[in-house]
Symmetry: C2
Subunit: 313 residues, 2 copies
């Protein structure tokens, strides 16, 4: 993957996505001691950046492949991205979801017209359900993050951020499975060779932090965080990209996530998911690293149940 | 008050306020059956449009008057507006607040450096506390809405909305004491002589609806609504302006307010106060009035306790 792949992805998906705004907050800047530029993917189609990768993967298929539909396993924003991309392109979407998924997410995916297959909430059941669908339908599988088409699609987010508000001294995004983070690394390194790149990660899902230190993919020692978009684990592919480019993975506690969430709601007046604010929490915990600098952050999405959110408040 | 007063107010306050964005939502348009343009004053300084009127009143004072400070009584966004205006202009602010005001609002006002005087939660105590302050300090009283300087300041909001996204077939704003609504009438009538102007009002604070029908200022038969920015009653001045210009006052129920609130959070991903969404609720209740039309709405502010909001969810 090189920058021309990202440029092509951007041209491919531009008609289907929003060029989301970059917002600033003088009061948050005053607290952080640096100049923060927030790329607001909560305003993106489907309410999250995931449509970039999903749409790029779909548009990279041949007409014959696309005609057989799209398939994935996900209980989160990637499921919505694939369902939405399929609807826009007029093909079928087959989504495998754990049977204990929240009904609000199931309804969102069904609302886009996708065919949902439920499975037991474990990896084996998920993969076998997906395999059965692929064999039966010939649909194209789009992995949530371990896929070059997805990574170059997600890279368009940092590309827009840098084009619209850069240059930056540092760029930071959250890391889960590493699709967005890998794309952020590739776009930032191409456009701003000198900028430092950071990943923000919850202490309660710290596989990237451990992997970076071990020099190989490692699991998190425990998984427990309200940042439910970041529960997944790096793949060899995303680990390879991220470990080559990031200055560090910065960990944050649950209380720091909640405090950052309150800040974004109260000061910026926008609706964001807990996963979103992990980079802001990381900056507030590591102020000397960013002091006086111009920093680009990606706010990844806004698909959150407000009733649940109030519990963190 | 004529349009040149509004233009002068706009020039006066422009250096101190945000020209807030006008957002649209294709999914809400599909539900409403018309094309809605939301003026997002939740992104305004202090989180609400009230800074427009407060700042215009402050900047209309002579240097000698201003030096003695600003005073008002309010437990809401107007208190923050006066406190913020005073801080920006380097003078003192004296705010009378009911002793049962939420601590979050008291802290916001104190955070801007204002001197807060508590009073018993009734009109007599409030006015006597204010009178004592005015006598002692010589500060300038800025009424929350019954003041031409405040009304022309609030009028700049509809002026921006029309300049940035107009023309419109109809313009709608919420009505409480009528400062914003009066300003909206004056600006809209000047810029769009043919446009229909509506006020949205909760059934549980329906003084404007009853006043319009009675042809004189009337109290609401009962007051009980989550739209806590709309509890106040029209003055003779605001009634005179509003009754001359609005096509109608459209009432909405509490359930309709809650449903509109959910829509704005889920579809637009922005944080707004319950009072904000009364116009949207009114449109959804009266779809035939707006069918196929282009409509400008004012979202008035975003100062809301999310914990409390979740109760409406």
């Amino acid at each position: 993957m090189n920058f021309s792949d990202i440029q092509q992805a951007h041209e491919r998906i531009a008609p289907y996505i929003h060029r989301t705004p970059v917002l600033t907050s003088s009061s948050i800047n005053a607290m952080a001691g640096c100049e923060l530029h927030f790329k607001c993917e909560n305003f993106q189609k489907i309410g999250a950046f995931k449509i970039r990768g999903g749409m790029n993967a779909a548009l990279s298929l041949t007409a014959a492949e696309l005609e057989r539909g799209l398939a994935t396993h996900s209980s989160g924003n990637h499921a919505q991205a694939i369902a939405y991309a399929a609807r826009i392109l007029g093909v079928k979407a087959y989504i495998v979801m754990p049977e204990n998924s929240p009904s609000v997410k199931i309804n969102a995916v069904k609302g886009y017209g996708a065919e949902v297959t439920f499975c037991a909430p474990n990896q084996v059941a998920r993969e076998s359900a997906l395999r059965e669908i692929l064999d039966r339908t010939g649909a194209a599988f789009v992995h949530p993050y371990d896929d070059e088409r997805v990574i170059t699609g997600q890279a368009t987010c940092a590309k827009e951020l840098i084009e619209d508000a850069g240059p930056f001294d540092a760029v930071i995004a959250p890391v889960g499975g590493g699709g967005l983070m890998s794309g952020t690394c590739l776009a930032t390194r191409a456009l701003l060779p000198e900028a430092r790149i950071y990943a923000g990660e919850p202490e309660g899902a710290s596989d990237a932090w451990h992997s970076l230190r071990a020099g190989k993919v490692e699991k998190a020692p425990y998984v427990d965080t309200i940042a439910d978009g970041l529960l997944t684990t790096l793949s060899e592919r995303t680990f390879g990209i991220i470990s080559s480019h990031v200055a560090d993975v910065l960990l944050v506690s649950e209380d720091e996530i909640k405090a950052a969430l309150r800040l974004v709601y109260e000061r910026m007046k926008i609706v964001v998911e807990p996963s979103c604010v992990v980079p802001l929490a990381a900056i507030l915990r590591n102020k000397p690293l960013f002091e006086g600098q111009k920093v680009g952050l990606i706010l990844t999405g806004g698909n959150v149940d407000l009733g649940r959110l109030a519990q963190y408040y």
